[in-house]
């Protein structure tokens, strides 16, 4: 069983495969182009949000404002970006810069990220309500087209997940700057001693998180065609769970972008799977939690055994 500890990506892959097999067994009709697209459609924004959360966890922080932030982006997308695209793009850019500034402030003043982001979640939530007091708005046409595109053979949801996984893998694992960013999570002092400005690196990590958060909100509007100030509140916890499910650790800069995307897919699939089980929606959240605990327990057991060996 050393295999699981050596290749951390294996456990998320196995979890997803087992869940997928169970779903197909329960509902063989899901095993089709449209079935798969339906199953994983909503996984695309969650995967993007999970990658955003991963950028923050990578530098040993945690973001409790991500759900509110994605909701705000969704509101901006459904209103400003639709009505006056220039202004919309500017607002979204400003939001990304806000995130970068947040990272710099958190590092420079040595503030706990958990508190700052919790506070910011109310700011984002308030702004979202200000922009869109009641559900509404409309998705820009091009975004709708992009999110409902039907590539041959492989459903859009799968295509998009693969693209997100490959791009973030290149960015975080392969590139030089991604390596240094992971180094900040592993041992910030040693990165600083090597002459890197850690405050700028933190700002970069937060800025990347903001960028992927913006993508998540836009993808969500493209799928739902309208927005609401509370549309993505549960993304905060889903994204954290996705990162951990994908083989990431809360501290130490140990993250896996491919794993994070797989984690997001697993979480989405778990919800569908429970519906197929005809489980009452009242129990679904609890059952989803149980699946999460199960996978994390498995991982803990494997890593412990490996540590003893």
């Amino acid at each position: 069983m050393k295999l699981f500890a050596k290749y951390r990506i294996l456990l998320p892959v196995v979890s997803l495969a087992v869940l997928l097999a169970a779903t197909f067994y329960m509902q063989p009709r899901a095993m089709s182009y449209f079935g798969i697209n339906l199953l994983f459609n909503l996984a695309v924004p969650i995967a993007l949000a999970t990658v955003a959360q991963m950028m923050i966890i990578m530098v040993n922080d945690i973001d409790l404002s991500l759900g509110a932030f994605v909701s705000l982006v969704a509101c901006v997308t459904a209103t400003f970006l639709n009505d006056s695209p220039m202004l919309g793009v500017l607002i979204l850019l400003a939001l990304v810069l806000c995130y970068a500034a947040l990272g710099a402030v958190i590092h420079a003043l040595d503030l706990p990220a958990i508190v700052v982001t919790l506070g910011m979640s109310f700011v984002w939530g308030g702004l979202a309500l200000f922009i869109l007091p009641s559900p509404g708005g409309a998705s820009p046409g091009w975004l709708r087209t992009l999110m409902t595109v039907k590539p041959p053979y492989i459903p859009m949801a799968v295509c998009a997940s693969v693209i997100i996984a490959v791009v973030t893998h290149l960015l975080v694992i392969r590139s030089g700057i991604g390596t240094v960013l992971r180094g900040v999570g592993g041992n910030a002092r040693s990165v600083q001693r090597a002459g890197w400005p850690v405050v700028r690196l933190k700002a970069l990590a937060y800025g990347l998180a903001g960028l992927f958060g913006v993508f998540a909100g836009m993808a969500l509007v493209g799928l739902t065609t309208s927005a609401d100030a509370n549309i993505a509140l549960r993304y905060t916890l889903l994204s954290i769970a996705g990162v951990i499910l994908g083989g990431g650790e809360f501290t130490g800069g140990k993250v896996s972008p491919v794993g994070a995307v797989i984690g997001a897919l697993t979480l989405t699939l778990a919800a569908s799977f429970l519906s197929f089980l005809r489980l009452s929606p009242d129990w679904q959240i609890g059952a989803q939690g149980a699946i999460l605990i199960l996978v994390l327990t498995a991982r803990l057991l494997f890593t412990r055994r490996d540590a003893q060996a």
Partner: protein, 476 residues
């Protein structure tokens, strides 16, 4: 001048460099120049200022006064001047691979395809310093052993990294390496210096210092007390230069009648009733860990008794001492709350009485014990922690370097208090980094590399004997 002999210009030159932390003079005016080919052995006791000197040289700390210059390269920063440091506490990123760790300190590696050159460079550096090392450049650092990590760190220190290593500072580099590997490192240092590099070598293994150093610098209390070519010292001379003779306190130590043994750990730590037992040796050699194991084992398990047989006096007040948001009263009384509680409720009157009694006995300088603890000076905060421990009825008191950052007056008060309490039959286990304090003990255990290397009693407790046992006299 620069055209005549650029190699003769020193790589780094310190003039009267000083570094003060508040009133503490960690570095008290040091002038030093290191030229190409120098291998400087740096020795000194705990807190002598070695680490501060190193951090001033490598740019980690800016000197309070004086200057640091890099004449040979003319560079403004230590990093640009080719000064590299290998620290004792491992400073690699454990989540990255060996090659990725090189990338962190090698900003010249750019572009998407940096992995192959990084691998090649770290492999070459490892092969050069530690032939036959068997370390995979793609292995994540947290899968390597401590010795292998140290080897990687040393190799990164010597690797060219786009420029060239001119001065490599090695802080206790061999502490986690076995003899064969250490020998490889020493011979590499000699070659490196012969090729015109320079090394600052800090070690408690005097044998290694004598083997590689061309010059030896002895530090004490933030000053350089001796600097000579390596041949100018004998081992005994070096130990004498590091230490200082302060035995006036020993006179105060009267022979006490010793009771039965109350403590005996598997490691060999023993204590009798009424005895003051010191734990000594260089900092970080397992003394604090031994105390923590002993204390937590006796008090913090699920089934530990309600009335603890041991109490703890913290030295790192911020980390495991004061409760910063509480008043002086609450901070002092927390250890006795279960004993003075009535039906599970705190007895406020008795709590106040006991605290007032200890305030008077230990001399905590405050008008009102309900003031917040942080309104007190460090020394008085420490007295509150002593009151917390001594107010309980526990027969054993564990002290983890409790006099850190405490002024001399307070120290004398506390020494007297400890002696008085010991005379009443309490046992003290006292870890201290200050040899002067350890010399007040009845029995001293000297730690080295996590093990007890000597047990001294009575007249054997002298600074010299402790130093001898702390340093590896045989060498590598």
């Amino acid at each position: 001048m620069s055209t005549a002999a650029p190699s003769a210009a020193p790589i780094v030159a310190l003039t009267e460099a000083a570094k003060h932390f508040g009133p503490v003079r960690a570095l008290d005016g040091v002038s030093l120049s290191i030229s190409p080919g120098d291998c400087l052995g740096l020795v000194g006791h705990n807190g002598a200022g070695k680490s501060t000197l190193v951090n001033v040289v490598n740019g980690g700390l800016a000197p309070t006064s004086g200057s640091v210059a890099f004449p040979a390269s003319g560079a403004a920063s230590a990093l640009a001047a080719g000064v590299r440091s290998v620290f004792q506490e491992l400073s690699l990123c454990p989540n990255l691979t060996v090659a990725e760790n090189l990338r962190i300190s090698h900003s010249a590696l750019k572009g998407m395809n940096w992995r192959a050159p990084a691998r090649a460079e770290i492999r070459a550096a490892l092969d050069q310093v530690f032939p036959g090392h068997g370390i995979d450049a793609d292995a994540p650092v947290d899968t390597l052993s401590i010795a292998q990590r140290q080897m990687v760190e040393i190799a990164i220190g010597f690797a060219p990294r786009g420029t060239e290593a001119r001065l490599v500072i090695l802080d206790e580099p061999t502490s986690s390496l076995d003899a064969g590997i250490a020998e490889q490192l020493l011979s590499h240092i000699k070659q490196f210096c012969a090729r015109g590099g320079a090394v600052i070598f800090i070690s408690h293994m005097l044998g290694e210092i004598f083997e590689v150093a061309t010059r030896i610098l002895v530090m004490k209390d933030g000053k350089v007390v001796a600097e000579k070519p390596a041949g100018g010292f004998t081992r005994q001379g070096l130990v004498d230069a590091m230490g200082h003779v302060a035995t006036e306190a020993a006179a105060a130590q009267a022979a006490r009648a010793q009771g039965e043994e109350v403590l005996h750990t598997p490691e060999g730590l023993r204590a009798r009733k009424g005895e003051i037992v010191g734990l000594s040796g260089l900092a970080g050699h397992g003394q604090a860990e031994a105390l923590a194991r002993l204390y937590l084992g006796a008090t913090s398990s699920w089934r530990s008794p309600r009335e603890a047989g041991m109490v703890f006096v913290a030295g790192d007040r911020g980390r495991d001492g004061v409760l910063p948001l509480w008043s002086i009263l609450r901070n002092a009384s927390i250890s006795i709350l279960p004993q003075i509680a009535r039906r599970g409720m705190v007895d406020r009157t008795r709590e106040a009485e006991i605290t007032a009694e200890w305030k008077a006995r230990i001399g905590i300088r405050t008008d009102d014990v309900t003031n917040p603890i942080l309104s007190l000076s460090g020394g008085n905060q420490q007295k509150v922690l002593f009151a917390r421990a001594l107010a309980s009825a526990a027969p054993v008191v564990v002290m983890d370097d409790p006099m850190r950052g405490v002024d001399v007056g307070t120290k004398q008060d506390v020494y007297a208090m400890i002696r008085a309490e010991a005379a009443r039959g309490r046992t003290f286990l006292w870890y201290s980094t200050e040899t002067e304090e350890v010399c007040q003990c009845d029995r001293v255990f000297v730690f080295r590399n996590g093990e007890i290397s000597a047990e001294l009693t009575g007249d054997e407790i002298t600074e010299e004997r402790i130093l001898e046992a702390s340093f590896e006299m045989e060498g590598a």
